[in-house]
């Protein structure tokens, strides 16, 4: 091995000393380091400002939450030591664990928690539901605070332990009080890691070191709950946009772990005995329709599109091999999740072009141009959008594909203008299970009429059914109301579910603890090597 490397070096340059060419000299910083390829480039270090998954994952590295879901989806106390509630669920008292500190050695107090919760309720859908329920917070002492609700709200802990979208991270009061109009530009948390801002190279890598001030729970880690004490002194998130590079880097041991493997490389990586490929979390592909403009302002036209969608083809176009995709998923709320239900899906289970064409004719479609935004820089979005174009063409619609990078899609989709005047009709996106699995956490089902969500769906029935679901008294009632909500969603078609797939991660076999990863998140404190 050494010989070949030496030869290569000699062939290329003449003479270089042997020692400097060893791989050890290349990679290792002091201490135990985990080098992983992150799924995206970390651009914004404020998880309370954007729902981008990479910023959320950053939040879990640096910050901690009051409650967290365990691996079975149950909320568990995290920063909270103990809590109590009144019989009518309106009065709550929370006590923080003793000794919690931010990484600058200052203590975590009730004031920090309350300021963070206020910031959170102003941004999150669950949080806003609590505001609508008349929530108020009050500090009792540095470790104790109370919460008062005007109306009973049975999902308080689910809300506080919300794992994705905007999780309720606890920031120092000073940061939490900053205006929410622009991202917070520093990070100071009480979580398991400290962000090394001086080593951050946007577009390339983000570096974290173990937070010596972090006080772990005594329970074993489970999901996002329990101890988050890291076995690594240092974690490096690399961003390698080129699939070949990231896969080759893993094969050669230059990195330990790839958070999200490009689907086409799953097979070659599986064939490599030094590498373990696993399934990390469920995702759904979304086809988002603009409800303001023809043709999809008409419910029949939306149903026509839904009838024509072949989920398997969408997932194949996104690159997912047969064993990572479902042939058909019958729910908006993630197949296999606690809210999995087939209610209302029966009529749409099989792609039916004849039915689609009939519905389209009923809608009075007059050959208007359908503008589809096609992202070019994200391979799976590109495949999905082009498949959508082909699907609409196949039922006789007049399709105009407009290509742009994803960043431009996010700007363009906010425009309410007519498609011919700079607006749009269709774009595609994906969501992880926690951002799809209930009428409130699902970003495209949660907003009520008058929302600012791109697509601007509005269905009064759905709004009523959602509120009813939130106010359900018990599990049975909640299940019935969920079924009713989904059945109506299949009729009203606020957006179209284009199928469910699993993300794949890959790691060197010397990485331990991979089986404990949960929710499609890189919970690096589960890992060791």
């Amino acid at each position: 091995m050494m010989k070949r490397r030496t030869l290569a070096a000699l062939a290329a340059f003449g003479a270089f000393t042997l020692g400097t060419l060893s791989p050890q000299a290349m990679a290792q910083a002091p201490g135990k380091t985990l080098r992983m390829v992150a799924h995206a480039d970390l651009k914004i270090i404020d998880p309370t400002f954007t729902t981008a998954y990479i910023s959320r994952n950053f939040g879990y590295m640096v910050y901690d939450t009051l409650f967290s879901q365990d691996a079975s989806g149950k909320p568990q106390p995290q920063m909270v030591e103990k809590y109590s509630q009144s019989d009518d669920h309106k009065q709550w008292t929370f006590t923080l664990r003793p000794g919690l500190k931010f990484s600058d050695d200052s203590a975590v107090t009730s004031a920090d928690a309350i300021a963070s919760l206020q910031r959170w309720t102003s941004r999150d859908s669950f949080g806003r539901a609590m505001v609508a329920g008349g929530v108020e917070w009050k500090a009792v002492d540095p470790r104790t605070f109370t919460m008062t609700l005007a109306q009973p709200f049975s999902m308080v802990l689910d809300a506080l332990a919300k794992p994705s979208g905007y999780p309720a991270f606890v920031l120092p009061e000073r940061l939490a009080k900053l205006p929410t109009t622009s991202p917070i530009n520093e990070s100071l948390g009480s979580g398991p890691f400290i962000f090394k801002r001086d080593e951050w190279v946007p577009g390339n890598k983000a570096v974290f070191v173990r937070n010596p001030q972090y006080v772990p729970r005594t329970e074993a880690p489970s999901g996002l709950a329990g101890s988050k004490a890291s076995k690594f002194d240092r974690v490096e998130w690399l961003y390698l946009p080129d699939s070949n590079s990231s896969v080759a880097a893993l094969q050669r041991g230059e990195v330990d772990y790839i958070e999200s493997v490009p689907p086409d490389y799953i097979a070659p990586l599986r064939a490599n005995k030094d590498i373990k490929v696993g399934s990390g979390g469920s995702f759904q592909a979304f086809l988002v329709l603009n409800h303001l403009h023809p043709p999809f302002n008409n419910i029949k036209a939306r149903q026509a599109f839904q009838a024509a969608v072949n989920q398997e083809k969408f997932l194949a176009a996104m690159g997912y091999p047969p064993d990572m995709r479902m042939a058909y998923c019958h729910t908006f709320f993630i197949c296999g999740s606690p809210n999995d239900t087939a209610a209302g899906s029966q009529a749409w289970a099989k792609p039916d072009l004849a039915k689609a064409k009939a519905l389209l004719a009923e809608s009075g479609y007059k050959g208007e141009k359908v503008v589809i935004l096609v992202p070019t820089d994200i391979t799976y979005h590109n495949g999905s959008a082009l498949m959508a174009a082909q699907t609409l063409r196949s039922i006789g619609m007049n399709v105009d594909t407009q290509s742009m990078d994803w960043a431009s899609v996010t700007a363009r989709r906010a425009k309410k203008e007519a498609p011919s005047a700079g607006g749009w009709n269709v774009y595609v996106t994906v969501a992880g299970e926690f951002d799809a699995n209930s009428p409130v956490t699902n970003a495209y089902l949660s907003p009520a009429c008058g929302n600012s969500l791109p697509g601007w769906p509005c269905d009064k029935q759905l709004d009523e059914l959602r509120t009813a679901w939130l106010q359900s008294a018990n599990a049975t009632e909640r299940k019935q109301r969920l079924d009713a909500f989904q059945a109506r969603a299949f009729e009203a078609v606020p957006y179209i579910n284009a199928g469910q797939y699993s993300m794949a991660y890959a790691a060197r076999t010397n990485i331990k603890g991979l089986d404990k990863l949960w929710g499609g998140m890189p919970l690096v404190w589960m890992l060791d090597k």
């Binding site: 290329a12 270089f16 290349m26 190279v201 577009g203 880097a249 050669r252 996010t410 906010a414």
Partner: protein, 311 residues
């Protein structure tokens, strides 16, 4: 001295044109950076507030004046996306780019000038033809195809070099060099072709001049004749090397993308996709500055090569 000053002053209008072009260009962009930063679920109000905070609502000329004023104090602005000062971003990115550019230059000068001289001296021979065929091929085959062929051959099939990434010089000269060999070879091909062709052409011309014929007739050795000829061909060759800087900087953009090297070139490609104005502006401005300064230096050094030139 007066000449140097005059040449320096002459670069000012060029840089002014560059500044205006760069600024106007970027500010006509349709993408809304505020909407991009605010993310998926931002409300229209969020976006409006952010636009205000970032100063994107002011009239263009006002933004231009503010920008120029800041430039004068060395402030390149702050990345809209990461909120990191552009000087910091560039600082992180400059080492890989400089490493690749300098090593490529070195390879090129060391290989191309002797190769071109040899081809000229043996004009018409097999070597000459091979050199010329190489040159036209290097101009024609897209650099990114060559890059992937190099990766496929010398990083995947024969795992001699890393597939991607950059290792800092501070981590040792060996690893550093290994990490940039393939990108430099990739980048050098076009540049070598350019300089070789130019060297060959000028040396060929010089070789036909009377004084060289005389020197040859007097029985001067081959090497001294060639050195003599090279000395006289130095000015056009140096000019080509200077003009080629633009080609080199352009090539770095593609090469850094192919080899996933976190340099200034990839920074600009990433920034374009995010409409991160301050970063794009700074990179364009700086690369133009480098081009102007290097060509100024080359211009001024002519006297070194050719004492006959008087200013």
């Amino acid at each position: 001295m007066g000449y140097i000053l005059r040449r320096l002053v002459a670069t000012l209008p060029v840089m002014a044109v560059v500044a205006i072009v760069v600024f106007l260009l970027i500010h006509l962009s349709p993408g809304d950076p505020a909407a991009l930063i605010a993310g998926d679920l931002a409300t229209e109000e969020d976006i409006r507030n952010l636009r205000e905070t970032l100063g994107l609502n002011q009239p263009i000329w006002q933004q231009f004046m503010i920008w120029i004023g800041k430039l004068a104090t060395g402030d390149l602005g702050t990345s809209i996306f990461t909120q990191v000062p552009v000087t910091t971003l560039l600082g992180q990115r400059i080492e890989p780019t400089l490493s690749i550019a300098l090593v490529t230059m070195l390879i090129t000068v060391v290989l191309a000038i002797p190769l071109g001289t040899l081809a000229a001296y043996r004009a018409g021979s097999l070597i000459d033809r091979l050199v010329m065929i190489f040159a036209v091929l290097a101009f024609s085959v897209p650099a990114f195809l060559v890059g992937y062929l190099l990766i496929y051959g010398f990083a995947i099939r024969l795992p001699w070099f890393p597939v991607q990434g950059y290792v800092g010089f501070s981590e040792g000269a060996g690893p550093w060099l290994r990490s940039i060999v393939l990108p430099c070879v990739n980048l050098a091909l076009v540049y070598i072709a350019l300089i070789t062709r130019m060297t060959r052409a000028t040396v060929l011309e010089v070789l036909h001049e009377d004084y060289i014929r005389t020197a040859r007739a007097k029985g001067l050795g081959v090497l001294s004749v060639l050195l003599h000829a090279l000395r006289n061909a130095a000015v056009p060759i140096a000019t080509t090397v200077g003009m080629g800087i633009a080609l080199l900087i352009g090539g770095v953009v593609v090469t850094e993308t192919v080899f996933a090297i976190p340099g200034a070139g990839r920074l600009v490609v990433d920034s374009v996709q995010r409409h991160d104005y301050p970063v794009i502006q700074s990179v364009l401005l700086l690369s133009a500055g480098v081009y102007v300064i290097i060509n100024l230096l080359i211009d001024l050094s002519y006297r070194l090569f050719d004492p006959r030139i008087q200013y």
